[in-house]
Amino acid sequence: MTDRIVGLVILASAIWYGVTAGTYEASFGDPLGPAAFPVMLSVPVAVLSLFLLIRPDANPDWARGAALLRQVAAICILVSYALLLERLGFLFVTFLAVALLGRLLGSQWGKSAVSGAVISLVLFVAFDQVLGLPLPALPEFMS
């Protein structure tokens, strides 16, 4: 079943990709143009995805219950990290993300808070001070 769903998604994407690529036009002299290569890619993918629909492999075991919750939580943490990094500053966001991820990975609150504090400081010193990557250290409203 999983393979059939994946095959269907790929088939739909390939059709969309090919149709979208077909609309690209270049006004001047390139014999191939921007459309031909993507269109050439979309056709075989669409054909190959049909094989997934016709002859799917056995289903993989997807995560359930607690494991699935952990994964969803981890994705949420990672996405929020990316969105909040420049707004809330590196130190605070990294501390929070490391502590929460550590908790997800089965450690206690206290320990993960300590690891969050240590890792955020170490990485800040390593990247900002030693490697010279300017990081937004503090929240926007404080700097």
Binding site: V6, A21, L32, L41, L85, G102, I119, L131
Partner: protein, 502 residues
């Protein structure tokens, strides 16, 4: 003779104090990263590429540092295979077969020493092969025209992972998905924005490094979160601190046989290190398993696949450097590294930038010696890395990945792209789609399209030019043969699996 002179020049580049120091540092860091459970060579190198960039080294030094890290990861990876029974990557699976039983029988340090010596012999053998054969292949490849390159890329995609037994439909789909993703961004030929959804963030397309870090490192975290309840690897105690020479020698000819088999499968298109390790193990078992002790802790069962694995990775550098076509996951990461350093591998690299090529090759020789010296006496130090708890390690890896990616473009958009690729990679891994063809497509897509365009502008739009040169025709013939073989093997495997379940 000319090769020897060039190699001597290479050593002159690699042996400057800075480069030598970087080589030692790279070997040390690489072994440390490789020995951390859950961080294979691909992940390890991927997350460190952006970090190495921020050191602002010149291209040769950066290349030396990162290839030493890569070689170090390969050495370090076997530590978790042998002591924890957790292979860091696919080729290391064969090492667990006899390495873990050996460790359980109280011969952990012997198994580690044998695998270190095997890695050394295999990798050195492959580096010698690289020195001899790469310039030859480069001088042949100089005659390749655009349509031949197009054929070569077709072959690379059609054959990658072909005979490893995975579902070939899925492998081919993965290659096409990679190529499709590579087309995102401003079209270099005409400047038309493709698949950008009018977002200027996507005008440059997806940075392969961002994609690689997401696909490998972030998906690994998701994998771990799923399996952490069942995974409780217990570390086997090391036993004797310094192994006896006799035990190391018990690998015997297995070292050499493994190296030869590994090297050949490394050079073959699309085969790579997994096949090298697999074939070396199987061949050694046929050759010297008289009493059925393979799989129960036979030293030769550790020596052969480990020599094969390292020899194959070295051999895979030949098509990568001379043709720009990597044959395995780790060489694909190396290619990403070269491209980000603005070095385009291919036959011209040998003519135009010999200092880079030969400096790299010399650095590989040096790395092997340094690694052997580091690995035999310091093994008990590196095994400590295994007891690092995952709740510190995983968040640390995630944050280094974030910072590495952020250092490339200073844009939080790329961080989101990385997480997106992580989720994408996780789903693909669950469904049994290999990630390597995706990376390959992403890396080679632009070049493939460029060569197609060049060929067609020579022929003024006539597609017949693709099938005119004998080189291209030969490459298509090989492609067709390999494709038939991989489909045949896959169907046979499927039928057998079907018979078993009935």
């Amino acid at each position: 003779m000319e090769t020897l002179n060039l190699l001597a020049d290479g050593f002159a580049v690699a042996l400057t104090p800075t480069n030598l120091m970087l080589a030692v540092l790279g070997c040390f860091l690489g072994t440390l990263i490789g020995s951390l459970p859950g961080l294979g060579p691909v992940n390890g190198v991927a997350i460190l590429i952006p970090v190495a960039f921020s050191l602002e080294l010149d291209p040769t030094s950066a290349l030396i540092l990162l290839s030493c890290i890569y070689y170090g990861c390969m050495y370090g990876g076997r530590i978790s295979s042998i002591l924890l029974n957790i292979p860091g990557d696919e080729p290391a699976i064969m090492t667990t077969l006899d390495g873990y039983p050996m460790a359980k029988a109280g011969k952990a340090s012997e198994a580690l020493a044998i695998s270190a010596v095997a890695s050394f012999i295999g990798a050195t053998f492959a580096t010698i092969g690289l020195t001899l054969f790469a310039p030859m292949l480069a001088s042949v490849a100089i005659h390749f025209g655009p349509s031949d390159y197009f054929a070569l890329y077709v072959m690379a995609f059609a054959t990658i992972g072909g005979i490893t037994g995975a579902n070939p439909f899925k492998t081919l789909i993965a290659a096409f998905l990679g190529l499709m993703i590579a087309a995102v961004g401003l079209d270099p030929g005409t400047g038309v924005a493709r698949f950008t959804f009018d977002s200027f963030h996507l005008y440059d397309g997806f940075d392969p490094i961002v994609a690689i870090v997401g696909l490998f490192a972030i998906s690994e975290v998701l994998m771990y979160l799923e399996k952490m309840d069942q995974l409780q690897g217990k570390m086997v105690p090391l036993g004797r601190a310094i192994p006896k020479l006799k035990d190391i020698l018990s690998g015997g000819w297995a070292y050499i046989r493994g190296s030869v088999i590994g090297f050949v499968s490394g050079v073959l298109p699309g085969a790579g290190a997994s096949l090298g390790a697999f074939l070396s193990y199987i061949a050694e078992q046929r050759w010297s398993d008289k009493d059925g002790s393979f799989g129960k802790g036979n030293p030769k069962g550790v020596a052969a696949p480990e020599a094969g694995n390292n020899s194959a990775s070295g051999g895979a550098l030949i098509p990568m450097l001379t043709l720009g076509v990597p044959g395995s996951g780790t060489t694909a990461v190396m290619l990403a590294l070269l491209i980000s350093l603005n070095i385009q591998p291919g036959p011209l690299l040998f003519e135009r930038q010999p200092d880079i090529v030969w400096g790299l090759i010399a650095a590989l020789y040096i790395a092997n010696f340094v690694l052997l010296l580091l690995n035999v006496p310091l093994i008990s130090f590196f095994t400590r890395a295994l007891s690092m708890p995952q709740w510190i390690l995983m968040p640390f890896v995630v944050m280094v990945s974030f910072m590495g990616v952020y250092s490339i473009s200073h844009s939080t958009f790329d961080l989101l792209v990385m997480v997106g690729f992580g989720l994408f990679g996780y789903i693909l891994r669950k469904v049994g789609v290999s990630l390597v063809p995706i990376i390959l497509g992403l890396l080679l897509g632009a070049e493939m399209e460029n060569n197609l365009r060049r060929a067609l502008s020579i022929s003024d739009g006539n597609f017949g030019i693709l099938f005119q040169s004998p080189i291209a025709l030969a490459l298509y013939a090989i492609t067709a043969t390999m494709l038939c073989l991989s489909f045949y093997l896959a169907f046979r495997k499927r039928r057998r699996a079907g018979e078993k379940s009935v």
